[in-house]
């Protein structure tokens, strides 16, 4: 397998080069879905670097911007139904909490990894998580939370999804997730690391 220049340009955060390569490949007749594959590979690499502490938020946000610009070029060229996803993930920041910068990063990484992400935004009530999981038949509901005071509603959100009978797994994330919080919450998975979301999704969707 040869080097994937486009993936490397993304990981190198080289905005100009990424857009030029996307154009070049389109001109050369590559399928948009293939190009998206390269972008995703680059994105995954960026996620890894962030997890290892080699990349920072500023770089992640820049990477997200490059992705967005590339997708703006590619998306209109995708034929109806051509876009393939590995599955649908529902995500939101739990009721009572409005911190969303961390959640947005998780969304970006999940999208980058090829999932269709339904982002409910912030201050999301338990019923909303359940309703959306039902509509989308998503097997994975992810919740973000930064405030220790949102722990109570987080627990309610987890319980609502678990008791809905939909069978969806629940992943909770945020800087305050530890063993104590996990035990309290009743969630299936938990992590304080954004890139764990893609690993856990791979497990959940692999099994599904």
């Amino acid at each position: 397998m040869g080097r994937d220049e486009l993936a490397e340009a993304i990981a190198g955060l080289d905005q100009g080069r990424v857009l030029a390569l996307v154009e070049e490949r389109l001109q050369g007749g590559s399928k948009p879905m293939e190009i998206i594959g390269s972008l995703q590979a680059g994105m995954a690499r960026v996620g890894d670097l962030f997890e290892k502490g080699e990349f920072f938020l500023s770089e992640l946000i820049l990477c997200g911007e490059i992705m967005k610009e590339s997708m703006a070029v590619l998306e209109p060229r995708l034929a109806e139904g051509e876009r393939e996803y590995r599955g649908t993930v529902v995500i939101g920041t739990v009721k009572g909490d409005i911190h969303d910068l961390g959640k947005n990063i998780v969304v970006m990484l999940l999208k980058g990894a090829g999932y269709d992400v339904v982002d409910l935004g912030v201050d999301v009530a338990p019923e909303k998580f359940v309703e959306t999981a039902r509509e989308t038949k998503s097997p994975l509901v992810a919740m973000s939370m930064l405030l220790t005071s949102a722990m109570g509603t987080m627990k309610e959100c987890v319980r609502a999804v678990k008791e809905s009978g939909l069978g969806a797994k629940v992943l909770i994330g945020g800087p305050i997730i530890d063993d104590k919080v996990m035990e309290f919450s009743g969630a299936d998975y938990g992590s304080a690391i954004a890139s764990d979301a893609t690993k856990i999704a791979a497990q959940v969707f692999g099994a599904a």
């Binding site: 962030f50 500023s58 946000i61 409005i98 910068l101 005071s149 104590k180």
Partner: protein, 391 residues
């Protein structure tokens, strides 16, 4: 109420000694409560204290009736909802209005300052705030010169003046009636946070670092004298008590080291040194993790800050900054919410044994204390501080 004054004097002496790296009679206890915690303890609803400033002032008194505190920040909530209604603030949502009655306020973060605003901002930020920013963030001001806008300006200014006056009177009354001293007097920010928090938003500022770094630097430079001035003005000249500086976007892992050294640190350092040149000390409220930056922070003039530890590695902070600055922190908020009183006491004991021995230490939680903290755990924290904190 001479005893209360005497009590306040003692507490002040203790607090000042710790900040000056001395050993007071015991470790001072400073707890940074949110308005929501105070409201919960007071028995009022969130809506009541957000909307009714008298209840907001009274909530702190009700807390002081229940908890044996030596200092407070002031009235429960920082913000009066009605003032925000008067101007039509887009970016805040309040309990009882667009949120349930018992829900914490919400801030809607957007890039309220646009990339094309940099030049005007740099040329005259005060004028830019008046002519561009306020009409953009306050719906009642959307048409400058209109009747609605004129009314909103008058009401906004009058409301803030009322709030300032009532706030000052509240702090004085807590001292008079309970002997509690203010834990902070005056507030300011790191220039980078001023630009990132309410103006460009996180995504905006982060992209600016790549797309218009020179503009960012110019804007930060312009902010330095304003942030020093704002700190001294809100402190109304006080130099005994520390100035509150909540540090938001300089934590790890927001920026890589080069960026932090270029964009975050130089102007923050100038602000702290500027304040210190007036004799005003800064409470360096380092939210989350600051471990990689400790060596840089050590460059600040001795005693010019209190370094507050949240998730920063306490051992490292003690090693690098101890003996140079007073340290404060770091009882975990999750422990205050989920732990038992025993666990809290154990934690405090270990904390003080390890880091407070030589003085220069203030006991506090790691982060702002929200309404999830159990009152019994706060009691345990205070008791342990009094028991194990004696020198």
């Amino acid at each position: 109420m001479a005893d209360m004054e005497k009590l306040a004097e003692e507490r002040k002496k203790r607090y000042l000694a710790a900040m000056n790296l001395e050993k007071p009679d015991r470790v001072p206890i400073r707890l940074n409560f949110s308005g929501e915690f105070i409201t919960k303890v007071s028995g009022y609803s969130f809506q009541e204290t957000y909307y009714d400033w008298e209840k907001n002032v009274d909530a702190t008194r009700k807390m002081l009736d229940r908890l044996d505190l030596e200092m407070v920040v002031g009235a429960a909530n920082l913000w009066w909802a009605t003032l925000h209604d008067a101007v039509g603030a887009k970016y805040l949502r309040f309990a009882g209005r667009d949120l349930d009655e018992e829900t914490m306020f919400q801030y809607v973060e957007e890039p309220y300052m646009l990339p094309e605003d940099y030049d005007d901002f740099i040329a005259n930020p005060t004028e830019w705030i008046a002519t561009t920013y306020l009409p953009r963030i306050h719906t009642d001001l959307a048409e400058p010169g209109s009747y609605r806008a004129s009314a909103a300006l008058i009401k906004g200014a009058f409301g803030l003046a009322q709030q300032f006056a009532a706030g000052g009177e509240a702090t004085a009354s807590y001292l008079r009636d309970y002997g509690v001293i203010p834990s902070i007097v005056g507030i300011s920010k790191a220039p980078f946070d001023t630009l990132a928090d309410t103006l460009r938003g996180l995504s905006g500022i982060m992209l600016d670092l790549y797309q218009r770094p020179e503009k960012v630097k110019e804007a930060l430079e312009v902010l330095v004298p304003h942030n020093i001035f704002y700190g001294m003005a809100t402190a109304q000249g006080d130099t005994d008590f520390p100035l509150f500086m909540p540090l938001h976007r300089g934590a790890y892992p927001f920026m890589k080291m080069e960026q932090w050294e270029q964009f975050y640190w130089p102007t923050l350092k100038q602000v702290i040194e500027g304040l210190w040149s007036y004799g005003k000390r800064t409470m360096f409220y380092a939210e989350n993790i600051w471990t990689p930056y400790l060596e840089k922070i050590a460059e600040l003039p001795e005693k010019s800050i209190i370094f507050h530890v949240d998730q920063t590695d306490m051992d490292k902070a003690f090693e690098v900054l101890g003996g140079r600055f007073c340290l404060s922190g770091n009882v975990p908020n999750s422990l205050l919410a989920f732990g038992t009183a025993e666990e809290v006491k154990d934690y405090v004991k270990r904390l003080l044994d390890k880091y407070a021995r030589d003085g220069g230490f203030i006991l506090d939680a790691g982060a702002v204390i929200l309404d999830d903290a159990k009152e019994e755990n706060i009691r345990a924290l205070i008791e342990a501080g009094i028991e194990y904190g004696v020198y």
